[in-house]
Symmetry: C2
């Protein structure tokens, strides 16, 4: 979200983007006008206007009975066209499924999108107790959750410094996300090769992640696992870490060809 763009028209587009993202995040139930207004921090009439205009163009849809706004068909259509360029999920799916099979936990593919990660794929494992902190479409800032930490940890040092200087994660994500603690966890992630989220978002919901690199060597995606604390014991973590790294490495190789 660029707050200081010099491009005329960028304010409107930025607002539309925020509104669409809020709607997207609230799928499949959708959101009310006021909920979206709170999320995007804009006056309700403004949000209502934007949503109405988006609905006229098919980018949103309005369930009048429930008063909920949803993504519209136009988003789906364009998304399908864009998939040809952006979709690595067909390649990654077998890895996500293999991770879920081997560990019994829920396995994920997340992608870096600027300063955030967004979950693209989820495959549940055989263990019947599952964490739903992460799911398709869910976004977290870099450094939050195992996927975001894995990606952040393998950015260039300058990029890490810039990100940490410009983002304060404590308010929304707790003291465990202050800069000093994050730096320690970055060091640990680089040492192990995999990241650990020891219940820092929701108590009892643990996760591990490994970065997947794009052809230019930048961490652009992450494979991760989530589950309950007892399934992420210190004895089990090295094995899970090895599995994650193996699949992340194989996926990275596939994406370079």
């Amino acid at each position: 979200m660029n707050m200081s763009s010099s491009i005329p028209g960028a304010q409107m587009v930025g607002r539309l983007a925020k509104v669409l993202r809020a709607v997207s995040t609230s799928m499949p139930e959708g959101s009310s006008t006021i909920q979206i207004a709170r999320v995007v921090d804009l006056p309700r009439p403004t949000v209502h206007r934007l949503l109405s205009a988006l609905t006229e163009e098919g980018f949103c849809d309005h369930d009048h009975r429930k008063g909920l706004w949803l993504l519209g068909p136009e988003v789906y259509l364009m998304g399908a066209v864009a998939a040809e360029r952006y979709d690595i999920t067909s390649i990654a799916r077998q890895h996500v499924e293999a991770l879920a099979d081997a560990t019994g936990e829920s396995a994920f593919l997340s992608a870096r999108r600027g300063d955030e990660t967004v979950c693209l794929l989820r495959q549940d494992g055989s263990f019947p107790i599952r964490s739903f902190v992460l799911y398709e479409g869910k976004r977290f800032p870099l450094g939050v959750a195992s996927a975001g930490l894995a990606i952040l940890s393998f950015l260039d040092g300058d990029a890490i410094d810039r990100y940490l200087a410009n983002h304060s994660l404590v308010v929304e994500h707790g003291e465990s996300h202050d800069v000093d603690t994050l730096r320690q966890r970055i060091v640990q992630t680089r040492t192990h090769g995999w990241s650990l989220n020891p219940g820092l978002i929701v108590e009892g919901s643990w996760g591990m992640g490994a970065a997947v690199f794009d052809p230019s060597g930048q961490p652009a995606w992450s494979l991760s696992l989530t589950g309950i604390e007892s399934r992420f014991s210190a004895a089990r973590r090295p094995e899970m870490g090895r599995l994650l790294l193996r699949h992340a490495h194989e996926l990275t190789k596939k994406l370079c060809h």
Copy 2:
């Protein structure tokens, strides 16, 4: 595209929608600024500004070397979220494939989007000469091509009248698309149950289509076949029509549950 909306903000959103659709239509190669400006009939600087703002938000991407604008990752991400609500292609795929197998022609699923159809699925058959007039993402006005004619033909009489009164298809699609000729072809389509495009868009490229109905009984999709003229002989058409109607009917039933 609503030209007389009373919603403030609708002009801007409408312009953005047109620009995004133009980019989407030009995928996977993308388009130059001036190409999009011509398609959407807006001044080039305006288009450049809109595209730049959309690119800042991730809805478009700019290949600086080639000067081409493409759909951005945000469209893909939201599209994947919206797919949960709008995607019937997984259900329809087996029908499209079965049609291609049985006939040897290219088979399609198209969806109605307001006054247009858009192609969602394409499956090529075994016959090695194929028409590429229709492909995923391609849009035609209702009444044009076999899919659009199939859907238009089974709308309510009032809706057909309104559409024909408000749209002149002759300029872009030829004299064969004047109102009187379209009405005759609508009568024929209703009689047979399937529509025929006898090389009216590109000479030698023929097509047949059948409407698929949504739970409220409205024609919302179409299954169609395209190929070369010699493959759509008068002797073969009843059999192909029967196949189309059978699959359209089965798909319609699946969509009602």
